[in-house]
Symmetry: D2
Subunit: 305 residues, 4 copies
């Protein structure tokens, strides 16, 4: 149950069976930092190629294929003043005929936002000439990309996601949330990075407000787990995560996994699970921008035995 400080020196742009940067024990807490999506650190110095360079992987002692790695996001704290964002709405979330009629020229600008972690706000600094002026919005720092090494010794780009987690870009992955990942490799090999100060549902801008960050997380190993896709818990809900294209298939993964979770974790009979889901299930759109989209199925904890 130690707390380990870790200063990263190299970064990966795939989640895979890479050489671990640190071995940690079941129950440990790690305090470390992440680069922004293009590889820039707290000093706005480029430390890695993009996109979404990962801190890690962390080898968790005792984690074996078939277990779950339980990760609690204890703290997510941007460590510099400015974040950046694209200024588009992603063409894949717009009607094709509308995209057709758009002028192509002005899309590749970037916005610069000043992030005040104490006030929990972000203020638009550039571009300075829009009707938004210096718009200030609330922030809610979240982890865009985290997870374990995927199965079959694959190494998969941090642009995308799967059963192992990855670039889910779900704005619900904030401090205080616990996420369980299915373990595919000995040691689990946990990777983390790509913090956003805030983002829309769906990450439809193609980015959130991308920023380097300090992160603190704790790990626990759950032996012989039964999950196929990530499970999460926040203070009010249980959540299951599906990552796929199209959105319909992400819905299928998340919904099926919630039925499995109700059965395996909460021992609900199938009819109960279906009746409960049929009137009470909720969905959050994680991302509809990355190669795999993310949908989250949720149930209020009040409803559960």
């Amino acid at each position: 149950m130690a707390t380990q400080q870790f200063t990263p020196e190299r970064y990966y742009v795939t989640l895979g069976n890479h050489e671990p940067v640190l071995r940690i024990a079941d129950g440990d807490t790690v305090v470390t930092s992440t680069l922004d999506a293009q590889g820039y650190d707290a000093a706005e110095t480029r430390r890695s190629e993009g996109s979404n360079p990962m801190t890690g992987p962390f080898y968790v002692e005792g984690a074996e294929p078939g277990d779950a790695l339980v990760v609690t996001l204890d703290r997510i704290e941007p460590n510099r003043e400015y974040g950046w964002a694209r200024t588009i709405v992603a063409p894949n979330v717009l009607d094709p005929e509308y995209v057709y009629a758009l002028p192509p020229e002005d899309d590749w600008q970037f916005a610069r936002w000043r992030v005040d972690t104490r006030a929990e706000t972000a203020t638009l600094v550039e571009p300075a000439d829009t009707m938004l002026g210096q718009l200030t919005i609330p922030i809610r720092p979240m982890v865009g990309c985290f997870g374990v090494a995927p199965p079959h010794s694959q190494a998969i780009s941090t642009a995308t996601s799967g059963e192992y987690g990855g670039n889910m870009d779900y704005r619900g992955f904030v401090a205080g949330v616990t996420v369980r990942f299915p373990v595919f490799e000995t040691g689990a090999l946990f990777h983390i990075g790509d913090v956003h100060a805030v983002q829309s549902d769906g990450e439809i801008g193609g980015t959130g407000i991308e920023i380097s960050s300090e992160v603190e997380f704790s790990v626990r190993v759950e032996k012989n787990a039964t999950l196929s896709w990530p499970w999460a818990d926040d203070p009010r809900y249980i959540l299951t995560v599906g990552n796929a294209r199209p959105l319909d298939q992400a819905v299928q993964h998340a919904t099926t996994e919630m039925l499995r979770r109700l059965r395996h974790q909460f021992r609900l009979d199938p009819a109960s699970a279906r009746i409960l889901m049929g009137q009470c299930a909720q969905y959050d759109v994680g991302n509809i921008y990355d190669p795999a989209y993310t949908m989250v199925c949720k149930l209020s904890k009040h409803l559960l035995p």
Copy 2:
């Protein structure tokens, strides 16, 4: 600005250019009732075939193609004690391999819920033998299917939806919400029905808690409107609605329409609209069960000029 009491005598299972049941003026309020999705009334007597028989259409004086019909849902009050629901989770929201492995036999039951409109709860009465027991959940009565006559003199089943509204099955369409529909026929021809005491996001049970209801709504005509898809306002958000399959296309319609709404109603420049959407847009899943799915794009009113 009259209030008109209307007792329906016949019902339609399409939204179309039907003989109006009542002519009302711009500004009028109508108090009437709706059948449940299978055509049963407050006395649990079958009054129409299903599914989703409509009360109406109401001819609104002064409404012309190119205008918007602005409908405020003033009151939605179930008028009997029991509602029913299917007890499935719809196979289209489950992984195909999971559906494959399901036992087919027990899916076509119905659940019976006792609805207490004063306590704002529903209590499961049948089946009585599940682990849920007599589960009580909060209700939030909503209109499943409403809208105007579709374009080109079409008559379209109340099973589905389109630019004209229809069976959107969005649980945000509760009392206090205002919805604008594009008008395609002279008189707009407004239809309403299919009240649910409550439903999940996505109506993944294939039904909500289906119940007959009293409804009260007010209409207003907005001349020369610019909407292509329904717009809505609730106390906290502006909303745009996209109806289509797959979910990705419903997202495209709703998102494109929000960009149009920001431009036409709020006069935002395109860059402002994109930047705002990119960090602040939200989505609600309306339904992922009907022939056309429904996605809702939302923006907090706090963010708007």
Copy 3:
């Protein structure tokens, strides 16, 4: 078994339960004409609004809901020299990022093709300034939109399609093909129009070479049929048709219907049907442009008992 000459005077832009233009008997053949997709006739005079005005509906005596209407396309012969086409590739079949980068300006031209029905060719006349010059391609005249009145007294735009047929835009619907439609209304109410001299798979140009035409077809009523979606036969294949968005769902409809057809028409046991389909099924892309896409599942007649 009469042959009826019919000269249309009015046209519908929906398939629906309209007043029949002619009553015909089981076994009759009809010789008539169709307008092009924008309503122009053999003399290039506009006779109807678009899109896809229908000749008909024809009331077929003896056809009742639950039967099949068996339509043989005996002859499809363009009746003027010039056809037109859009010059786009539809944005929905292109990568959104590619559409984003396209110049929007030059897309709304039309091409003009000279159609030589004797030589069975079309020659590009306008635009005259492309590298294609006066390209000559083979033609294969086909019916874009035909079918029966849809269920539940719906009237549905000829832009789209469903179980009842409609705007399937499949280039396999040429002379010599027989198509069975499920009957939903007494008299079946058969509509036909929208002939193309030729089109790509998928109708990805948004149109084929659109042209007015003479058409000759014969009808037969099959009592107590078992089809849910259109079935077709050409000289070499049996075919089933699925109409839906997205393409995945059109595949599902066509494939499921082929399994049903193998069972009901050919009395194959389920394992045989699956094994045969697993190695021998073929697919044609009908259209991927209209509101509902069309996929065709095929099996060679050589493989069938």
Copy 4:
């Protein structure tokens, strides 16, 4: 321009930046063998885990990122008498409601087919009790999975596919076809395996007739190529390949790539390319079973300058 005999000793179940098994020169021909999809060799001895173990990778001298690797499939010859296949129709290509109603029990059998490479037929041996009896069908041996190392040092499962090729399961990849892959790693790192004696369009059985095989292929390096997705040539057509889910996105990739190919390889002006595609493009369904589906866009060589 040497011909190299290569006997594989180890196999990979990912396409990745693995240690090459052989270095070959631009212009060389390789004669080697492949295991079946579950790792069984010519003697029906298991030599690797599944699925789709790859022979290779072959390092091609002179191939650099940005080039194309041009692979000609010279010969594909099953090297044993029996192949196997699943006996399902994949649930993802069936209507969800239909899957719901299917009996789950009898799906996990395998069929055994006797393959006669001289007669070019396969004959069903097991199950022996279906109405098909000893059905004999024509074979057309093809390569299911082949390609180069993917970008960003990824290692991606041979279950799926991408820009780099992979498990495309397209029945058009037969002897005589040439395929160009974009090169992402120095040496290209070509992998090949997963031969089918035959399969349906879409590989809707979940497998083709899976069999070990001798394969002979030749490689050529094309410097500074312009392709984003695989291009192919067969005797009659030029082809472009898109791999993605859903099928709509695979269509988008293949169609966009064909427009690019017409521009870059054939120097067609954009209007010509669009007009040609709009009337003459064809599509083949590669697979609609694997995690990424495959669509092929084709144009007849007769139409090209």
